[in-house]
């Protein structure tokens, strides 16, 4: 196994980090999962370059970053269409290419979606911390030195030359997600839906909600019809564990969709986004609108199987 320096960061953009599918098993110590906010795009990116689907990728936000290749490496860009360019020429997404020494990958900003994923054949070589390569930005560990990328950082991959023959792979066009600006998220009621008034629940279902600009990697803040709690319940609940997609409602009635940077919370949650729609959370951007559609557990299960089938069919179509 040889570590090879493959990319140098020329400009880091506003937020570019190393993420994999997240850090699980340490919630008892208060350690949050972090991880790619669009798990589907990360898994697809890895498969396209010949990696295991759970390898670490580069996650870049909004205007994207600029990197220069230091050696031959196979790359693929997936997720939000931040308009990637290779040496100034538009680069097709959801497809793998070999780039060589001196090639420059840049982005010109979002046409659709919010976050793009760059997979490298051979992964991104950073140490596993507590079982994951994801960056915990708020506690400063994992990923690349526990922080977002900075100018001149150098990324290494493991045996990148062994992956060069994966170049040219692509995801079937019909499986490439469309990222709208008006979103519908499917949710299941609970765990504290019974703490809200009927009017509050109706407001929540009717929406629409605007994504606030103070959303970040910890949560998507929404502005719209206030979701009122019953007058006979206290302002907060006794703190309990939370997961990505749980929708908490503080006293002002404006919902916040929790993302994977915390494990506990003391606000009540009216509903929770279903697993099949979690990847969408990574692509919603400030200014977009969202509506919630309540589904049944059976519908949630069916939706997830359908989503998973896309990845599994793609895996089967790959050589080896």
């Amino acid at each position: 196994m040889a570590a090879v320096d493959v990319l140098q960061v020329i400009a880091p953009g506003i937020l570019s980090t190393v993420q994999d599918l997240g850090r699980y098993g340490y919630g008892r110590y208060g350690v949050a999962p972090s991880g790619a906010l669009d798990g589907f795009a990360l898994r697809a990116a890895n498969l396209i370059v010949g990696n295991r689907e759970d390898e670490a990728c580069l996650e870049t936000t909004l205007m994207g970053l600029t990197v220069r290749a230091l050696a031959d490496v196979v790359v693929a860009v997936t997720g939000g269409n931040l308009q990637p360019r290779l040496n100034r020429n538009p680069l097709e997404m959801w497809r793998s290419y070999v780039i060589g020494k001196g090639d420059v990958l840049t982005f010109s900003g979002p046409a659709t979606g919010f976050r793009a994923y760059v997979a490298l054949g051979g992964g991104i070589l950073v140490p596993e911390v507590l079982g994951s390569r994801s960056t915990s930005l708020f506690s400063g560990f994992g990923g690349f030195c526990g922080r977002m990328f900075q100018k001149d950082d150098i990324l290494a991959a493991t045996d990148p030359d062994k992956y060069l023959n994966a170049a040219g792979r692509c995801l079937q066009p019909e499986w490439i997600p469309a990222y709208p600006t008006r979103w519908t998220l499917r949710v299941l009621w609970g765990p504290q839906d019974h703490h809200f008034t009927d009017e509050g629940r109706q407001a929540f279902c009717s929406g629409p909600y605007l994504l606030s600009s103070d959303s970040d990697r910890t949560g998507i803040r929404l502005q719209g019809p206030a979701v009122y709690t019953r007058s006979d319940v206290a302002e907060s609940i006794i703190s309990e564990g939370v997961i990505t997609g749980a929708i908490q409602v503080p006293g002002d009635g404006q919902p916040i969709i929790i993302l994977g940077e915390t494990v506990t919370g003391g606000y009540r949650k009216i509903a929770t986004v279903i697993s099949a729609d979690l990847a969408l959370l990574g692509q919603m951007k400030p200014g977009d609108t969202v509506q919630f559609r309540v589904v049944s557990p059976a519908e949630a299960a069916q939706a997830l199987r359908k989503e998973e089938k896309r990845i599994q069919s793609f895996k089967k179509s790959l050589p080896g």
Binding site: Y24, G25, Y26, G27, R28, Y29, G30, V31, A32, P33, V129, L130, S136, F138, S139, G140, F141, G142, L188, W189, G190, P191, Q192, I238, S239, E240, G241, V242, I243, G245, A246, T262, V263, T264, K269, T272, V273, I274, S275, P297, A300, A301, L304, R305, E308
Partner: protein, 228 residues
């Protein structure tokens, strides 16, 4: 109060929230600890994480690897045999604290709020043997109970945007320690040189749910010299 039967609540299609009581009390929290230990031992395939809290346990699973209904049956089964779970004997972790001054900017205010002296606040805060009810908020942050009624103080009206790591705070009957620089609304009465969280260690958290903590007062000079 402990519930006769656990209450299951749905948090999405990939977790099960089990409530074992309705308050913050050692009896309920101990029950949570037993269920946590029982499920942790089972090492169920498809269970990704367990998050024990004051009165509930959150079980996060992969719904395609283990169905929610199957998981619930296994949890119900574990709940029926909790009395047989032996709790681990926990050593008391002693935590040195420099109280007041720039280390504890809210100490004076807490004293004033209760119309007692700063000395009394320190004596009352160092008196109890605290139970670690849960770890949450940020990695390694312990929720400790209970602070004596005489120094129980509400959170700050305006939370601070940057509470230094090591800060020791009070919020109502709870005390806590900030493991990393973070925002926070607790009344900060002191600071500890102890390292609460180190991702290179196994376990990464100095304290664990169900453990015990006692605070003792040190001078700023002693804190500088302090070694774990």
């Amino acid at each position: 109060m402990l519930y006769d039967k656990p209450i299951f609540r749905r948090m999405g299609d990939r977790s099960v929230l089990i409530e074992l009581g309705d308050d913050i009390s050692p009896a309920v929290n101990e029950r949570v600890q037993r269920l946590f230990i029982a499920l942790d031992r089972l090492k169920l395939a498809g269970v990704l994480d367990l998050i024990p809290a004051y009165r509930s346990l959150l079980v996060i699973h992969h719904p395609l690897m283990i169905e929610t209904d199957v998981l619930k049956d296994l949890i119900r089964d574990a709940c029926s045999r909790l009395d047989a779970i032996r709790l681990p004997k926990s050593d008391t972790v002693t935590v040195p604290v420099v109280y007041g001054g720039r280390y504890g900017p809210d100490l004076q205010w807490v004293a004033k709020f209760h119309k007692i002296s700063v000395r009394e606040v320190i004596d009352l805060h160092t008196r109890p043997l605290y139970r670690v009810y849960m770890i949450g908020f940020t990695p390694g942050f312990p929720y400790l109970g209970e602070v004596p009624e005489k120094v129980a103080t509400p959170r700050r009206k305006t939370p601070r945007t940057d509470v230094p790591r090591g800060s020791v705070g009070i919020a109502q009957r709870q005390s806590g320690i900030y493991p990393v620089d973070s925002p926070g609304g607790w009344q900060i009465i002191g600071w500890t040189p102890a390292q609460l969280f180190d991702p290179r260690k196994e376990p990464p958290s100095l304290l664990q749910m169900g453990g015990q903590v006692r605070f003792y007062e040190v001078s700023a000079e002693e804190a500088k010299q302090w070694q774990p």
